[in-house]
């Protein structure tokens, strides 16, 4: 955290522009006939945007290095919440009615 180091402005602005472009892509993509790929596209874009914010705005690469561990831990456990309950839903005989 040395104060003498140059503080570049460029990465922030570029990241901001990329985020807005991705937003546009998400909107345009929503109107394309992609069928089941819609979900993948919109969640893929959300994940990419999150990755950009984490890495550039939240400086995931600097000190303290351990933040990698915790940034990953949340998503890792979430993955298991999703996948293990999805096993049930995907292979249960039909869905609850209403």
């Amino acid at each position: 955290m040395s104060s003498r180091r140059r503080e570049p402005l460029g990465p922030y602005v570029i990241a901001w522009i990329v985020l807005l472009v991705l937003l546009g892509l998400s909107i345009v993509g929503a109107y394309q006939p992609l069928g089941a790929w819609h979900a993948l596209l919109s969640f893929g874009i959300a994940a990419t945007q999150t990755a950009i914010v984490f890495i550039v705005f939240m400086k995931l690469r600097g000190r303290p290095h351990l933040k990698w561990l915790f940034a990953a831990a949340g998503f890792f456990w979430l993955l298991f919440l999703f996948s293990l309950s999805a096993i049930d839903y995907a292979t249960r005989n039909g869905f609850p009615t209403h």
Binding site: Y12, F54, K67, F82, Y89
Partner: protein, 214 residues
């Protein structure tokens, strides 16, 4: 300003700052699970009732959602620029950027409020005022329930963020932050950007649905 002393348990300010940032990252991990649980319920129900979710999602207001995303992304930018200003000891820019961040936060809440009003006008508020429109069945109400709970909890998070940023702006105006000591800015900045990330996923859940025909 007198130099800031580290807490008794810390060797120096740098250790204290790193510890505070690590604390926020750990908190973010819990927040990922908090919102993740909600999004998990959404995904499992959407997988159960794809057609109904498309029909209901089509009625969400994608223009307002997109404007809001642009606002939030920009506010994240002003937030990191504020931290940069603190590092460069530019107090004027720091205060202005913090105020801009809070203003963008307010703008988000304002747009969100307008969107809620429009949703209410089209009778999409579950339980209170819900009309089963063209092809709506019960799962469509489930979609709108998720919409209001998720965006509501997100708005609460954002409001907390606005309060924190305003407090920081007041402290910054008094010159509390220096290139050596600005850990609170870093910590709140992490929080702010994370709330932004939550919105990316809520956007993906809510707005793109059912635009390309149902």
């Amino acid at each position: 300003m007198p130099p800031v002393e580290p807490g008794v348990q810390y060797a120096d300010l740098e250790q204290q700052s790193e510890t505070a940032q690590l604390g926020m990252w750990v908190f973010i991990a819990t927040e990922v699970l908090f919102f993740g649980a909600l999004i998990a319920t959404y995904v499992l129900y959407r997988a159960s009732y794809p057609a109904q979710f498309r029909i209901a999602g089509h009625d969400s207001l994608i223009l307002l959602g997109s404007i809001n995303q642009a606002i939030l992304v920009t506010s994240s930018l002003t937030m990191v620029l504020a931290i940069r200003a603190a590092r460069l000891a530019d107090r004027r820019a720091l205060v202005r950027l913090l105020l801009a961040t809070a203003a963008l936060g307010f703008a988000f809440i304002g747009v969100k409020g307008y969107e809620y009003a429009r949703d209410a006008a089209s009778h999409s508020v579950p339980v209170i005022d819900f009309v089963f429109k063209h092809g709506y069945r019960a799962p469509a109400e489930l979609f709108w329930t998720f919409y209001f709970i998720a965006t509501g909890i997100h708005a609460v998070h954002l409001s907390i963020g606005i309060v924190l940023v305003l407090i920081l702006a007041a402290r910054a105006a008094r010159g509390a932050f220096t290139p050596l000591y600005h850990a609170p800015l870093e910590v709140v900045g992490l929080y702010w950007s994370f709330v932004d990330c939550v919105w990316f996923f809520l956007f993906a859940c809510i707005y793109p649905l059912g635009r390309a025909g149902i």
